[in-house]
Amino acid sequence: MMGVAVMGSGCSIRAIWILNNLDAVVFSRRFPVVEKRWRASCNAHNDDTDQLFSSLPTDSDLADAFLDRKHREGSARGFGIRKSNSSPGSDSWGLYTILILPLVEPRHLKAYARLCKRPDCGTAVGMDNAFSSLLLDLPSITGALLVAHAIGDIITGDTVEPEVIVSAAPSVGGLFDSLTGSIGISSRAKPVAPPVASSTPSGAAVPGSVNTDAPKIGSRPLDKDALRTFISSSMPFGTPLDLNYSNIVTMKANGFSTTDLPPADHKQPAWKPYLFKGKQRMLFTIHEIVHAALYDRDEIPDTISVSGQINCRADLEGLPDVSFPMSGLNKANLEVLSYHHCAQVSDQGNLCRWTPMKGFYQLSMVSEDKGAFLFKLHLMEGYKAPSTMEFCTVTMPFPRRRIVSLDGTPSVGTVSTSEHSVEWKIVTSGRGLTGKSIEVTFPGTVKFAPWQNQRLSSSRSSFGIIADEDSDNEADNASNMVNEEHLMEKINKDLPPVDLEEPFCWQAYNYAKVSFKLVGASVSGIAVDPKSVSIYPAVKAPVEFSIQCRWYLLMSSIISGHNQVTSGDYILWNTLVFWGQTIESCSRVAN
C-alpha cells in the first residue's frame, strides 16, 4: 500500500503490561496501530536478513520472560552495575511492575542489541552508540517513562493534583515520620503531594521496556477500568497526548455541557480543559527543601542548599495573565530555575540565611551489645526574629536491635524508649522556643539485646569468598585491644546492600533524626509580595501565601577518642553515624 512515513521522533507506545508481585500479568494493552508501524519499519529495514520483527508476546509468555529476567538481574535491576549473583530475596521488586514497550526504530534496537552483546569488559563512557546516545535519540523512552509514572500513580492511588496545603497540620513532624518509615528519605520528591516511599524506575532499562516499581502501598486491587479509561483517553492510538489523570477523570465523570462556552478570544489550553468558575482568589505556596550537612569540623565547611518550588494557584475566571515579582532572590547563589510550561519567565530563590540547629551526635559501640552516645545541639543558633521553633524531637532508631536499657539524662527535655528507638523531646508542643538560642546535651549509653551472630550464607557477598569460618576475629580480638572499626564492620556485616536510590544508605545501623517545626519565615528568604501580583485582564482576587520548608539535615561528628588515637588521619565520613531530618516549617500569610 502506501509507504510509511516515519515521523521524526515522536513518542508512541506499542504495548503496556502490568505485572503483580506474583509475576502474573494483571493488565495488558496493545496498540495495533503502533504495532503496524513497527512492523512496517522492520520490513523497510530488512535488508540484512535478521529477524527484527516478532509479534508481541502473549501475556503468559511475557510473564515468563519477565520472571526470567528478574531472576537474572536480581536486586540491581539493570542499574548499569554488574552484580553477578544477587541473592534471591534481596531484591526490592514492588507490588506491581509496569512494563512499557515504546516504539523505536529498528536501528535503535540493533544498536542496543550490539550494546548488550558486546564481548568486552564494559562500555566505555561516551562511545558511539552508547546507551546515552540512544536515550538522547529516543524521546519515546522519555515519554514511556512518563507514562509509566502516570500509570504507577493510578495504581497506587497517588493521583492527587499537587494541591496546595493551605494550613499545615499541627503534627506535621509525626506525619512525615510515619511516611518515611524507619529508614531513608523518600527519593521521590514530588514537591507538594505527600511523599510516598517508593523507588523509581531504572535508568538503564531496555529500550522497549521500561519498568517502574509500584510504591510499597498495601495490597490495593488494581482498578482496571480506571486504567483502561486513562489509557484510552490519554493515548487512544498509543501516542500519549495528555497524562493528566485528574483532568481525564474529571472529563469522564462530568463531560461538558452545551452551556460550557469556550473563552471568547483565546484558545483554551489542552492541559486546562475546564475553566474556573466561582469565588476568585490567588494562592501562592512556597515549598522549600533544605539539604544541610553540618560537619562540626573546621576544615570542612557546612553545606546547605535550599531548593523548592513556588506554586501559584490562580482560581480566576477566564484565562487572565498573572504576573508577580519575587523578592529575596540572590542571583549569585541561584543555580537552577525551572518553570511550568505555562509560565513565561520568572525567578525562584535559593539562599540559606541561617540554620536553626547545629551540633553533633556520636555513637560509639563499646561492645557488641552496648553503645555510648553523646548529643550536643545548639537550637535556634543565629536566631532570627519572627521564627518560632514549635517542637523539636530527636529520634535514634535502631531498627535491627532491641533496646534493653538506656542510661543517661539530657540537659533539657524528656527521654522515652521503645523497643527499637530512643526518643528525646527537646522542645515539646505548646512550649515553643522563641527569642533565644539554647544548647542542649544528652550523654548516655544504650544497651541492646545480645546480637545474634548470624552467619548467613545468603548474606555472603556476591564475590563471596571471604566469609569462611575462620575464627580470625576471636583470635585478633583476644590479642588486640577492641578494634572498633572491626566491630562496626562485623555488626554491619549482615545488613542488606543498600538501595541505589538512598543517599545515606550506608551505616543504616546508627543514625538519628531530628524533627522540628519552624514557623515564621522561609529559609531562602524568598517571598512573593501579594500586593505586587497583577492580573490581566484585571480581576479583584484575594492572594494567599504560604511557605513550607522541609529539612534534610545531615550531621556528623567525632565517633570516639579511641578511634582518633588509633587513626589520626581518619576522614570525616569514618564517623558518619548520623543523619537527621527536620521538617516543615509552615507559615501562612493570608491577605
Binding site: I81, P191, V336, S338, C342, L554
Partner: protein, 1102 residues
C-alpha cells in the same frame, strides 16, 4: 441494529464469559481458532445490548481492536463495523455514552488501519469512515462533544498517518476549523492540521491549503491516495505551494502554549521536517521553542534537544547553556530520580555529539561532582560524566583539568571516606568507576589509536594501582572485590593486559607489604590470580607462601587446629594453581622447598598429605599432563578452581568402582622389556624339583643347610632334556670330612672359610640381589583403542596429545626360586607417539643391539626404567610374571598381565664378594687367589669336599661339591677376546700368556686383573690337558680336536670367576688359541653346567 444478523449462531455470552474469553485471547488462545465469524457477530451484537455495562463494552471494543486481524476476514466485516459506528454516533447520549462513542471511533479507525493489511477494504468503506469522522469534527466550539471531536481529530490523524495525503483535499476546511476551535480540543485540531501539512510537504502534493471548494462531505479519497500505491508523490503535482504553507506554519507556531508537553512533542516532530522542506529559518523555531528547556517537564526539555540535534548550526553557541541546563535538571530534587538520570544521559550523549564544539569548562566540570544528597545511581552516572571529561581531555596537553584530581575528588562520594563492606552498593559503584576511568582512554574498537603505552603511563593507571594496593592492605575484606575487578579486565580481550599489569603491580607492591598473620587468607583470591598469571614470576608469591607456612607452623597451638588446616589448605590451593599455570621448571626449586617443608613440619595431617602429593606430582609428572591431572579433579566435580579453594581436597575423591577394569590384551600395547637382551634366546629351564617328588629335597640341592650334620645325598638322574653331557660325571665325594690336611689344603680351607663368612645367608638376612633392568613403554594408538578413546589426533608429535598412565604398579612373581620380588612403581609414563610404534614393535620382536636402543634420548621420555630385584635361592633361569595396575588419564584403572620377563643364567652372574678387610689395591690379587682356591676346591682331587663353611651370620653352612666340564669353542682368538671383553670383562680375574695379554692390554677393557706373563708357555697354564676330551667321537670332531690341539701354540689363558647367588661359583679357565679356545669349567653348583654350555655357545659362536 444495522448490519447485524438477527440469527445468532449460538446464545449470547454473558459478561463473565466475555471477560474470560478476552483473558484467554491475551494468553494466546486465539491462535487455535480457525474462524471467528460467529464470535464477531456475537461481539457486535453485545456492543448494543443495553444491559451490558459500559466498561464491558469498552473492553469489547479494545478486544476487537487488539485482535482485529483474527476477526476481520472479509470486507463485509468492515462494512458492518462502519455501519455500527454510524449508528452509535447518531445515537443520543443516553443510548450511547460519550466514552463509548469515542472508543468506538478509535477502535473502528484502528481496526480499519490494521486489518486492511490482510483484507482488502472497499474504498467506499474507508470513505464512509472518514466522512463520519469529518462530520464529527465539523462543529467547532460546540460545547458538549468537544472531547469526542478531539478524539475524532486523533482518528483522522491516524488515518492521515496511515495514508499520507488522505485529507489533503479538505485541508482548507481543517485549517478554518483549527482557527475557529477554542476549546481544549484545539490541540487535536492543530495536530490534525499539522499532520496533513506534514504529509503534503513530505509527498510534495501540489494542493492549495486555502482552497475550500471541495466540500467536506461527501468525502472521497483524493487521487494521490486512491490511486495505486506506485504513484509517487512527486508525480502528482508541479510542486509545493510554499507561500501558503509558510502561512500555515506561521499560524501553527503561534499556539505552542496551548499544548500539553506530549502534544508538543508530536507537534514538533511533525513541524521539523516541514520547516526543513519549506526552508524556514531554524532560528524561528529556536526563538519559539528554546525557552522550553527551562521547563520543569522532561518531555519539553527533550523536545528542545531533538530540535537542537536537528539544527546544530542554528543552535550554535548554545551548547554551554544546554549542558548547564541538563546538569541542573539532574540536581532538581523534585524530579523523579529517573528523569534526573535521564538528564545526565542526555548530557553524555549530547556532549558526545558536540564534542568538537564546546569543551566543558573547568567551572562546569566542578559541577559534575556528585553531591552529598544525590541518590547513589545519580552519583554513579555523574562519575561517568567525569570519566567523559577525562576522555575529552585525553588528547589535550592543556591541563586545565588534572585527571587524577578529577578521579580522586570524584570518588570521594562513594569510597574515599571509608571503604564500606564489599557487598555495599557504594563499593560496587566505586569499582565500576575505577573500571570506567581505567578504560576511558581506550575503547574496545579495533581502530582505537590509543596505545598500551599511553594507558600504562597515564596517571590514572598509576594512581589506581597505588589505590588498590593500599586498599587491599587496609581493608582486606575488599580483596575479593579487587579480584573480581581484575577478572573483569582479564576477561576482556582488549584490556586483559591491564588486568595483568595490575597483577604485576600487586606482585611487586602488595606482596612485600602484607603482614604475616592469619588475616593473610583474605588476600588469597588475589594471590590466586597472581598464581594463574604466567607473566608474573612465581618467585615472590612462593616466598610469601613459604613464609606463611612457616608462620602457620610456628603459631600452631591447641586452639588453631582448624585455622591451620584451613589456611594451609588454601595456601596449597594456590600452589596448585601455580602448578597448573606455570612451567614446572620455573617453580621447581622454591615450590619443592615449600612443599617439602609443609609435608615435613605442618601440623595438620591432611595438609601434609596434600603437600606430599603435590610434591610428588611436581617431581614426577611433566608439565602439561600435570596441569591436566590437576584440572581433572575439578572437572569431575564441576567446581572451578578459583572460586572454591576447598575443592582441591576433592582431588582425592573416592574412585567410582565402575572405572575398575581388567584388560586381557594388555600385553599388546604395554610392554615391559629387558634393557639388555639375553644371549640365549631359546629359553629352557632345568626343573629338578619335579623329579624328586616323593622325598624331601636332596641336601645338595639345598644351597644352604643349617649347621646340622649333612644328610645323605641321594642319587638322581639327569634330566632328559639337558644338552650338556656331564662328560666327567659326578665327582665322587668322600663321605667323611678330611681329618688330615696339608698346609696347602689348610690354606685353601682358611681362604674359603673367610670367604664364605662374607656370603650372606638369605634365610636370615637380605640375600644377594640380582638386578634386571627393564623398560616399560606403551603404544599410544593401541592404548587408546583399548580404552575405547576414539580420538585420532593428527598432531602426532605433540606430547599433549599423547595418553599417559599414572601411578603404575608392576607386581612380579615367578615360579623360579627367586624369593619374593618387590613390586615396582612408576608415577607417570607417556605413551609412545604413533609413528614410533612400528619401529618399537620391531624392537620388541627382535633383539636389537644394546647400544642402538638406548642412545635415543628422545625415546627416554616414553620409557620408564624398571628394575626387577631378584633374590635367587638358586642360580637358575626362569620367567618372571608381570602384573600391571595403572590409571589412565580419564581415571580409569587398568589392570592386567604383561608378557613375562625371561631371566637367564647370565643374569645370575655376580662378582664374588670381597671381604671388607682386603685393601682396594689387593682386590685383584684376592680375586685371583680366590679363583685358584675355588678351582682347587671344585676340582676332582679336591680335598675340601667334606668341609663345611659357615656363612655370614653363623647359622648356615655351605659345602662345596665341585663339578667340572670342558667346552671347545671354534672361534678365532680375536672374536673370543672381543666377546669376552664385552660380556665377561667384569669377571675376569687373571690373564696369562704374553700374546693374550698383549691383545687385551691395548683394549683397556679388562683391567685390574692379575697379569701372568711369567709363563709364556701356554702349556704351563694348565695341568689338566690330560683330561679326556669329549670331542673325539667321530672324524669331524676328531679333526676339530686336532685343530684344537693347535691352541697349544697359542696365546694364553683367561681366568674367570663368577659368583652365582646365593653362594655358588662358576670358574672358567679359557685356554685361548688362534682358531679355537678350550674352556675348562668348574663349578660348585653342577646344575648350572646345564645352562653354561648354551650360554657359551651364544656368547661365542653366534
Amino acid at each position: 441494529m444495522p448490519g447485524a444478523d438477527v440469527e445468532w449462531p449460538s446464545k449470547p455470552l454473558t459478561v463473565q464469559e466475555w471477560e474470560t474469553l478476552i483473558d484467554d485471547f491475551h494468553n494466546g488462545v486465539h491462535r487455535k481458532w480457525n474462524s471467528l465469524d460467529p464470535l464477531f457477530d456475537l461481539l457486535l451484537s453485545s456492543l448494543f445490548r443495553k444491559e451490558f455495562p459500559l466498561s464491558l463494552k469498552l473492553q469489547l471494543l479494545l478486544f476487537l481492536d487488539e485482535f482485529s486481524l483474527s476477526f476481520f476476514s472479509t470486507h463485509h466485516h468492515f462494512h458492518r463495523l462502519v455501519d455500527a459506528l454510524r449508528a452509535v454516533l447518531h445515537a443520543p447520549p443516553d443510548v450511547a455514552a460519550p466514552a463509548f462513542k469515542e472508543q468506538f471511533m478509535v477502535s473502528a479507525t484502528s481496526i480499519l488501519i490494521c486489518a486492511s493489511e490482510e483484507v482488502a477494504v472497499e474504498a467506499q468503506t474507508e470513505n464512509n469512515l472518514v466522512e463520519l469522522l469529518l462530520t464529527v469534527i465539523n462543529r467547532p466550539n460546540f460545547g458538549s462533544d468537544r472531547q469526542a471531536r478531539g478524539i475524532a481529530c486523533e482518528c483522522l490523524r491516524e488515518l492521515e498517518r496511515w495514508k499520507p495525503g488522505l485529507l489533503s483535499d479538505v485541508v482548507g476546511h481543517l485549517w478554518s476549523l483549527c482557527q475557529n476551535e477554542r476549546t481544549h480540543a484545539s490541540q487535536c485540531y492543530l495536530l490534525l492540521f499539522t499532520s496533513v501539512i506534514h504529509s503534503i510537504v513530505t509527498r510534495k502534493l501540489s494542493v492549495s491549503i486555502l482552497n475550500t471548494s471541495v466540500p467536506v462531505v461527501p468525502f472521497n479519497a483524493p487521487q494521490c491516495v486512491a490511486g495505486s500505491g506506485s504513484v509517487s508523490g512527486s508525480d502528482l503535482g508541479s510542486g509545493l505551494k510554499v507561500k501558503e504553507l509558510r502561512r500555515a506554519m506561521a499560524f501553527l507556531l503561534e499556539w505552542p502554549q496551548v499544548m500539553t508537553p506530549l502534544g508538543m512533542m508530536e507537534f514538533v516532530s511533525m513541524i521539523i521536517p516541514v520547516a526543513v522542506a519549506l526552508e524556514l529559518q531554524p532560528s524561528m523555531l529556536k526563538v519559539q521553542f528554546f525557552g522550553m528547556i527551562h521547563s520543569y517537564d522532561p518531555i519539553l526539555c527533550h523536545v528542545v534537544l531533538c530540535m537542537y540535534l536537528r539544527f546544530l548550526d542554528a543552535f550554535d553557541g548554545q551548547e554551554g547553556e544546554l549542558s548547564r541546563r541538563l546538569l541542573l535538571i539532574s540536581r532538581e530534587t523534585q524530579h523523579y530520580l529517573v528523569f534526573r538520570l535521564l538528564a545526565i544521559h542526555w548530557l553524555l550523549g549530547f556532549n558526545r555529539l558536540v564534542l568538537g564544539k564546546a569543551k566543558p569548562s573547568l567551572e562546569l566540570c566542578s559541577t559534575f561532582y556528585p553531591s552529598l544528597f544525590d541518590p547513589l545511581a545519580l552519583k554513579a552516572l555523574k562519575l561517568d560524566l567525569l570519566v567523559f571529561v577525562l576522555r575529552l581531555k585525553g588528547g589535550d596537553s592543556d591541563e586545565l583539568v588534572d585527571p587524577v584530581k578529577l578521579f580522586e575528588d570524584g570518588l570521594v562520594c562513594v569510597s574515599s571516606f571509608k571503604w564500606l563492606p564489599p557487598g555495599s552498593s557504594e563499593t560496587v559503584v566505586a569499582f565500576r568507576t575505577f573500571h570506567k576511568f581505567l578504560i576511558a582512554s581506550s575503547s574496545h574498537s579495533d581502530n582505537d589509536p590509543s596505545t598500551t603505552r599511553n594507558l600504562l603511563d597515564s596517571m590514572i593507571f598509576r594512581t589506581l594501582q597505588g589505590l588498590l594496593v593500599n586498599l587491599m592492605l587496609e581493608s582486606r575484606r575488599l580483596v575479593p572485590v579487587v579480584s573480581a575487578f581484575v577478572d573483569r579486565l582479564l576477561s576482556c580481550q582488549k584490556h586483559s593486559w591491564l588486568g595483568e599489569c595490575l597483577l604485576q603491580k600487586f606482585d611487586g607492591h602488595l606482596l612485600p607489604k602484607v603482614t604475616m598473620d592469619y588475616k593473610l587468607a583474605y588476600c588469597f583470591p588475589i594471590f590466586d590470580r597472581i598464581a594463574e598469571n604466567q607473566t608474573i614470576p612465581p618467585r615472590g608469591l612462593l616466598e610469601l607462601l613459604t613464609n606463611f607456612m612457616i608462620f602457620l607452623v610456628e603459631n600452631h597451638g591447641p586452639d588453631t587446629g582448624m585455622k591451620s588446616w584451613s589456611h594451609g589448605s588454601r595456601a596449597l590451593g594456590i600452589c596448585r594453581t601455580m602448578l597448573m599455570h606455570h612451567h614446572s621448571s620455573r617453580l621447581f626449586l622454591r615450590l619443592s622447598h615449600l612443599l617439602a617443608f609443609t609435608c615435613l613440619y605442618f601440623p595438620d595431617l591432611e595438609v601434609r598429605d596434600s603437600s606430599r602429593i603435590y610434591l610428588r606430582m611436581l617431581v614426577c609428572i611433566p608439565g602439561k599432563k600435570l596441569k591436566d591431572i590437576l584440572n581433572l579433579g575439578d572437572m569431575i566435580l564441576g567446581i572451578s578452581p578459583s572460586s572454591h579453594p576447598t575443592s582441591f581436597f576433592n582431588v582425592q575423591s573416592p574412585r567410582p568402582s565402575q572405572k575398575f577394569k581388567t584388560f586381557k590384551n594388555l600385553s599388546s600395547c604395554i610392554h615391559l622389556e629387558r634393557v639388555a637382551p639375553l644371549l640365549v634366546k631359546q629359553f629352557w629351564s632345568l626343573s629338578l624339583s619335579n623329579l624328586v617328588l616323593s622325598t624331601s629335597k636332596p641336601a645338595y640341592l639345598e644351597s644352604i643347610r643349617d649347621l646340622d650334620p649333612p644328610v645323605e645325598e641321594k642319587e638322581f638322574s639327569d634330566s632328559a632334556d639337558t644338552q650338556i653331557i656331564p662328560e666327567t660325571g659326578r665327582i665322587n665325594q668322600p663321605q667323611e670330612p678330611l681329618r688330615v690336611m696339608d698346609s696347602k689344603v689348610a690354606e685353601i680351607l682358611n681362604t674359603l672359610r673367610k670367604y664364605f663368612s662374607y656370603v650372606p645367608d638369605f634365610r636370615y638376612m637380605p640375600g644377594l640381589k640380582v638386578r634386571i633392568s627393564c623398560s616399560l613403554r606403551f603404544e599410544s594408538s593401541n592404548f587408546r583403542r583399548m580404552l575405547g578413546i576414539d580420538k585420532t589426533t593428527t598432531s602426532l608429535e605433540e606430547i599433549d596429545a599423547l595418553p599417559a598412565i599414572y601411578a603404575t604398579v608392576l607386581k612380579f612373581s615367578s615360579s623360579a626360586p627367586y624369593g619374593s620380588i618387590p613390586s615396582y612403581r612408576i608415577p607417570f609414563l607417556l605413551g609412545e607417539p604413533h609413528n614410533k610404534d612400528p619401529s618399537s614393535q620391531n624392537a620388541s620382536l627382535s633383539i636389537v643391539p644394546v647400544g642402538v636402543e638406548n642412545d635415543s634420548r628422545e625415546e627416554g621420555k616414553y620409557r620408564a626404567t624398571v628394575v626387577i630385584d631378584l633374590e635367587p635361592r638358586e642360580p637358575t633361569p626362569g620367567i618372571v610374571d608381570v602384573h600391571i595396575e595403572t590409571n589412565a588419564e580419564n581415571g580409569q584403572i587398568i589392570e592386567g598381565q604383561l608378557k613375562g620377563i625371561t631371566v637367564g643364567i647370565e643374569d645370575m652372574f655376580l662378582k664374588a664378594i670381597v671381604p671388607s678387610d682386603i685393601p682396594e689395591d689387593e682386590i685383584p690379587r684376592y680375586y685371583f687367589d680366590l679363583f685358584n682356591t675355588l678351582w682347587e676346591a671344585c676340582g676332582s682331587s679336591s680335598s675340601t669336599g667334606r668341609e663345611t663353611f659357615q656363612l655370614k651370620g653363623g647359622k648356615g653352612i655351605a659345602a662345596i661339591s665341585g663339578t667340572q666340564s670342558v667346552k671347545l669353542l671354534d672361534i678365532p682368538a680375536t672374536s673370543l677376546i672381543q666377546a669376552t671383553e664385552r660380556h665377561l670383562a667384569h669377571f675376569v680375574v687373571g690373564v696369562s700368556g704374553e700374546p693374550l695379554i698383549d691383545a687385551i692390554w691395548e683394549g683397556g677393557i679388562i683391567q685390574n686383573v692379575i697379569w701372568e706373563d711369567a709363563s709364556p708357555d701356554a702349556t704351563s697354564v694348565t695341568n689338566h690337558d690330560t683330561a679326556p676330551l669329549c670331542l673325539t667321537y667321530n672324524d669331524e670332531q676328531y679333526e676339530k680336536g686336532a685343530i684344537s690341539n693347535s691352541r697349544k701354540r697359542n696365546l694364553g689363558c683367561f681366568h674367570v670367576l663368577i659368583f652365582l647367588p646365593p653362594r655358588f661359583h662358576l670358574l672358567f679357565q679359557m685356554e685361548v688359541g688362534d682358531v679355537s679356545t678350550l674352556v675348562r669349567i668348574r663349578t660348585d653348583h653342577w646344575p648350572s653346567l646345564a645352562y653354561i654350555d648354551d650360554y657359551l655357545e651364544a656368547l661365542y659362536l653366534s
